[in-house]
């Protein structure tokens, strides 16, 4: 138990200690840092890039979580309405997508969206959405992050959908039928009967998605490409990596981590409280 506690606690202890030190390459070789109090924090809070990145990341998180949850909910509802063979087909597809390693998914996305002969440009042009012949998706930060969003939502949908579908199957049939007999329209039945029953699942999935999307690194880092990562398309995970690891300012990096942790904890307060409650009860 002690060993386990040490494995888990040591990094966090170090994180806090590092954030109060100047710890660069020189200190890394010396194996000890120079205490600087809260200077790391104040320098970050005075960094324009930090605030821009934070706003961008919050917008990114809201859009990604919103899309994941609403589309996931729609697909889960669809699963309850289709014939059995379609349900199995769709579930198999979802599990297949779920099992794609993120790094692999990024490579597929790059291949599908490459400007020379990407299939996305071809399909969009053929469907007369517009002329996307040799359209380059990697030019503006907005379209870069839009691509990252489609990749992230695509990868997150299976887990959310399958969990929501399982939750939906717990909704007692008599309840929804009774509401329908009473003349409630489909939307009202969903809002007033279904949602309250699946609320715990909805809350936990939303909080988990916030945790994952806020700190996301692999997908934007690889999809945008290391050479094209600039402050204008930073997300928090990448800002942390660039400031702390690339510039070998580990103290500053640790301070960013702590700020991220506080922000993400505030954003997903429901999940935290719930887990603490479960942890305390049992």
């Amino acid at each position: 138990m002690v060993v386990l506690g040490a494995i888990l606690g040591y990094p966090i202890y170090n994180l806090i200690r590092l954030s109060l030190q100047q710890y660069g390459l020189f200190e890394l070789l010396q194996h000890h840092g120079v205490p600087v109090g809260l200077r790391n924090f104040s320098s970050i809070l005075h960094d324009q890039i930090f605030w821009h990145t934070l706003v961008r990341t919050i917008v990114f998180t809201v859009v990604n979580v919103g899309l994941t949850m609403s589309v996931g909910m729609l697909i889960a509802l669809l699963l309850t309405r289709v014939s059995a063979w379609v349900r199995i087909l769709l579930a198999a597809g979802l599990v297949l997508v779920w099992s794609m390693p993120p790094v692999v998914a990024v490579q597929i996305w790059q291949w599908m969206t490459n400007s020379q002969n990407g299939i996305v440009n071809y399909v969009l042009t053929e469907l007369h959405v517009g002329n996307y012949f040799q359209h380059d998706w990697y030019v503006t930060p907005f379209s870069q992050l839009a691509l990252v969003t489609t990749l992230v939502v695509w990868g997150a949908l299976p887990f959310v959908t399958i969990t929501l579908y399982a939750a939906l199957s717990q909704v007692p049939r008599e309840l929804t039928e009774a509401a329908e007999i009473d003349g409630a329209v489909a939307w009202r039945v969903f809002r007033d009967v279904t949602v309250p029953v699946i609320k715990p699942a909805l809350l936990i999935l939303t909080s988990l998605s916030i945790l994952w999307d806020f700190g996301i690194f692999t997908q934007p880092f690889l999809l945008i490409g290391q050479g094209h990562i600039i402050p204008a398309n930073y997300l928090m995970g990448i800002y942390l990596y660039e400031e702390g690891y690339v510039k070998t300012e580990f103290g500053r990096g640790a301070a960013i981590s702590i700020l991220m942790l506080v922000i993400v904890a505030a954003m997903s307060v429901v999940y935290v409280r719930r887990m603490l409650k479960i942890g305390a009860e049992t």
Partner: protein, 273 residues
């Protein structure tokens, strides 16, 4: 029923859209170069070729890095399940001081954005000369795998009635005997689920492997794959897709094996509330 067939059509269309990227990866991997590079796409590889797979396998460090991945993943899975099992038993069965704090700590680690731990881990591992060593990566993965494994296994153990164990002990079994004969078989599904979870996450992991391992001969397969595009002008999409297919095969196989159990395990906690 008309509405049912309409929903079915939507469902099938959705399946096509969702699964298309995976299909496109596999399909590209088997296509000849002129089909891949043409402006008009070829949807199905009617004359499949294995040349891209051969090209991918012949790339430098492919086998070395697969071997590295296997070493890291297997060591992580074995240590994580063994330690997590003992810790979960301790958490579920015995009261000890600091138990609450321990649970909070586990949840805290799970909450940290993955990127947030690179820095302290890098510094700590550098202190003990574990940077650029597979052992350092294994330790790192354990910090992530353990909380989840402990938490999941604890749920399984709590589900076992205490009477069962006590009955075995009354019948003259030792504590260890009761443990091996009663507890172990009952938590076996939990062990399988956590082992698979650990396997998949460590096999897929990228950021820590990337930052902790600088030597090409020491990298894992995901890092190898991420460097595939490289700096070359002409991208070898066929070989890249073949390599991607190979990288995802172990995960797909494991997912198909335990798909139902994972979905169930994840939902059990979410729905119970």
């Amino acid at each position: 029923m008309r509405s049912r067939s309409a929903w079915n059509t939507v469902g099938v269309a959705l399946f096509v859209v969702m699964a298309f990227p995976v299909f496109w990866m596999v399909s590209t991997a088997f296509k000849a170069d002129d089909q891949i590079n043409s402006i008009t796409p070829t949807w199905f590889p009617l004359h499949p070729t294995l040349s891209h797979f051969r090209a991918a396998l012949a790339r430098p460090y492919f086998w070395t890095d697969v071997k590295n991945s296997l070493i890291v993943v297997l060591a992580t899975v074995l240590i994580a399940t063994a330690v997590a099992f003992l810790a979960a038993v301790a958490l579920a069965k015995y009261r000890f001081t600091g138990r609450g704090a321990f649970i909070v700590l586990m949840i805290g680690i799970q909450m940290l954005p993955g990127a947030g731990l690179i820095i302290p881990l890098y510094v700590v591992l550098a202190r003990y000369h574990q940077v650029n060593a597979l052992s350092g990566v294994i330790i790192t993965y354990l910090t992530f795998a353990l909380p989840f494994c402990v938490y999941t296994l604890r749920g399984f153990i709590l589900g076992i009635p205490k009477d069962l164990e006590e009955a075995a002990m009354v019948d003259g079994s030792t504590r260890f005997g009761a443990f091996a004969k009663i507890l172990l078989p009952l938590v076996a599904p939990g062990l399988v689920a956590t082992a698979v979870f650990t396997f998949v996450t460590s096999w897929n992991e990228y950021i820590f492997a990337r930052t902790l391992l600088n030597d090409q001969s020491k990298q894992t397969i995901t890092v190898w794959l991420s460097y595939f595009l490289g700096t070359g002008r002409q991208t070898d999409w066929g070989a890249l897709m073949a390599a991607s297919t190979l990288t995802s095969i172990p995960v797909v196989v494991f997912f198909l094996l335990v798909q139902k159990r994972i979905a169930f395990g994840l939902t059990a906690g979410a729905v119970r509330g």
